[in-house]
């Protein structure tokens, strides 16, 4: 479980790390949208190239990134498999009893898996390169206009920031609880699905109790440090755009143009 690095911040000082979080959020949105615009190989080639460049500039080790999403591979594989088996088209490639695989199915499976894969990596790059606080600051500022309609933007941002802060803490705790229960003879690799599900009880209950306790204590600690919502709060690191952010926006704009052109052309 410790290997789940998704959502964690990778602390190096790269160009990408120094960008304003809003730029990275917008890039993630643009990137994911572009993936769903069309199915064509050129577009996916460009997406791959852009992602590769992004990773290179971010100086986050490739190994670290792929290890982080390892747990999601099964999910991607399953989705691909579902597509392969359920999407039916004209040209049958393979048929056996009730299973029929068509060309359309194969293409759907490939594209869906690739999309999911790019989407996960693309958006997790945002969290690898941005501290959760910067990320929520960015979101808070971008969505600031919604406060006028009584949407508690600051509160949501705070909740998210705290959730991210406690992900590694709870992951470590989960690891510890699992080991402790293993020491009491539980074997997670044994039994059918139902039996295995039942084995989660001794893990999840202590985790839940601990999370509740932690949140109570944290709330008290925040109270003690004079937290009283977003009103009248100042920032240590207020967001303001630098030259590099404008350049980045320019590049994102170019990418949008390229995607549109490619979609029309192919």
């Amino acid at each position: 479980m410790r290997d789940m690095t998704i959502g964690q911040f990778y602390n190096v000082d790269s160009v990408i790390h120094r960008l304003d979080p809003r730029v990275k959020i917008i890039f993630a949105l643009v990137y994911v949208t572009a993936l769903f615009l069309d199915k064509n190989p050129v577009l996916f080639g460009v997406a791959l190239a852009v992602l590769a460049l992004y990773i290179k500039l971010s100086e986050v080790p490739v190994k670290f990134i792929f290890r982080g999403v390892r747990a999601l591979y099964i999910f991607i594989l399953l989705t691909g498999l579902m597509n392969l088996l359920t999407v039916k088209g004209a040209n049958t490639i393979f048929e056996w009893q009730f299973i029929r695989i068509t060309e359309a199915g194969v293409s759907a499976a490939i594209y869906t898996s690739l999309r999911l894969f790019f989407m996960i990596i693309g958006s997790s790059m945002m969290t690898y390169t941005t501290t959760p606080n910067a990320l929520t600051d960015g979101l808070e500022k971008m969505l600031g206009w919604m406060k006028k309609c009584k949407v508690p933007v600051h509160e949501f941002a705070m909740i998210m920031s705290i959730a991210l802060r406690f992900v590694p803490v709870l992951v470590e705790e989960l690891d510890k609880i699992m080991k402790a229960q293993m020491a009491r003879g539980i074997d997670f690799k044994e039994g059918n699905l139902f039996v295995r599900m039942r084995k989660l009880v001794p893990i999840l209950i202590p985790l839940f109790v601990s999370a509740t306790k932690r949140s109570n204590e944290l709330a008290l600690a925040m109270d003690a440090r004079c937290y009283h919502g977003g009103e009248g709060r100042t920032k240590m690191k207020p967001l303001c755009y630098q030259r590099r952010d404008y350049i980045a926006y320019g590049l994102i704009f170019l990418y949008i143009i390229a995607v549109i052109v490619l979609t029309i052309l192919f």
């Binding site: 602390n11 501290t131 802060r165 293993m182 209950i205 109790v209 600690a221 100042t234």
Partner: protein, 607 residues
Amino acid sequence: MKLIDIKNLTFEYFRRDAEGNLEEMIEALRDVSIDVKQGEFVAIVGRNGSGKSTLAKHINALLIPSEGEIVVDGLDTAEEELRLSIRKSAGMVFQNPDNQIVGNLVEEDVAFGPENLGIPTADIWNRVEESLDTVEMQSYRQASPNHLSGGQKQRVAIAGVLAMEPKCIIFDEATSMLDPQGREQIIFAARQLQKRKNITILFITHHMDEVIWADRVFVMEEGAVVAQGTPKQIFEQRELLERCGLRIPVMYEYINFLLGQGIIAAEELQNVYGEEDLIALICHKVKRNLENGQASNETKQLLNESIYRKNETENKKSETARDGILLNHVNYIYNHGFANETVGLRDVTLQIHKGEFVAIIGETGSGKSTLMQHSNGLYLPTEGNVYFEGSDIADRDFAMKNLRQKVGLVFQNPENQLFAETVEKDVCFGPENMDISRVEAQKRAYEAIRLVGLPDTIYDLSPLQLSGGQKRRVAIAGILAMQPDYLVLDEPTAGLDPASAIELLDLLKELQLKTGITIVMVSHNLVEVAEYADRVVVMSDGSKILDGATKDILCQVGKLEQAGLLVPVGIKMLYSLKQVGFDVDVTKTKQMDICGELLKLKEIFSC
């Protein structure tokens, strides 16, 4: 000037059952009156549940009195609109280092308070800078809190409070989850703040040795203040403290002994505060006496006898691979093959024999927990082998389940892993995983609960209803119910108050002697190790540096201190006496035996 003025504070709350009916009224604080002057260092001590934390939470208006009043810096905590100002002037450092850090980077966390106060950005940077400097955490300002040690996290928490420029800082059991080094760091930081910045300190703890430096001490029991005075006045009331579940500092046990024997006089203790002062005092006296040649020949002869005793031959146990658990040249590397790989263990060879009480000691991060988890196959060595009674546990056909049953592992704070709705079901969980019948499992559970000294009435209670010490016993019973031959415990006394800690250790010793179970205790509390362990293994930076009988290991003061361990005052005292040329047996580790050695001082001083 009075900074905090508490008058006749009473706090009660109601406990309700699931339907909201009143179950009972709990009086957490009864008629407490305390006043604290600006710049004072005040300690509040008491066992778990004595009301000391409840009192602390009243001072910065996290709780509001049912009766009586609290005025902090001229502000009444009952007035809602004053609360922010009160919390600004009375900051609080909490017990759990993790649960009070909000920021994802050290500097962002320190800034959290000032941000809430609406301080301009440029000033926030100054305050963060200054606060981190004060607690000497400047070099970690860009680090993630998750990568810090407990002591470092608490220092960040102190910096976070400092950045709000408070007049008073309340340490609410801020040291109870830390290792000895961490605790020293926090006490040092608190004293510096008081001395250099004239910040009032309220230090809440159940470790009496932390309050030696306080100006005044308040003792709490069942919600009331039962004693107050200077530390020295408090330490004299040994019986009262014991009734309150507390223990006077080990150093004062020796002082009382030395005073009682007439080896030192009360007026000599005027400038004695810390352990170093006491040791220096005694050594100085001894040196003067030895130089004056006052020690008679007769005494010298008597002293020399102890040297012969040391040379007694030990009957070493023959080591056979069939016996016990053997770690053979074990290396363990975390994240093996990745950029962030770190060495956990380096070439450790260790045999644990049946029936012994072994302590594995070392500072945090020295590899002792990693080592412990090799004993029942939770970790398999990256290199080397682990043998359990002769079979390699990495073998394909090795019965791992059998190993997990034979070697019971009790993790740190094991009560956090309780999950069932009743104590009985929780204790049965282990045996039931062993594929035995339900009836047999229950039988074993009952035996285990009795073994840990809990009453039969506890079976049907929910683990959540128990006290901290009881929960820990239930958790240990959960392991004992599997009827292991080896019981491996990680910091079994961490977080317990002194009385519960001693009870638990006595229980472990009794188990070892009565049932022949092997006890392996991972610890960094050398006072406990000195009293209870037969054998000590010292870990440092992933390697085993010392291994042998307790008496032979604990006297190697220099090596232990190099490994980052805090050597108990008694052992240090004997060691220092030996250094100045007074002949004592430095292999004594138990407090009683050390006192016996110190008696020899009487003979040179009396003539």
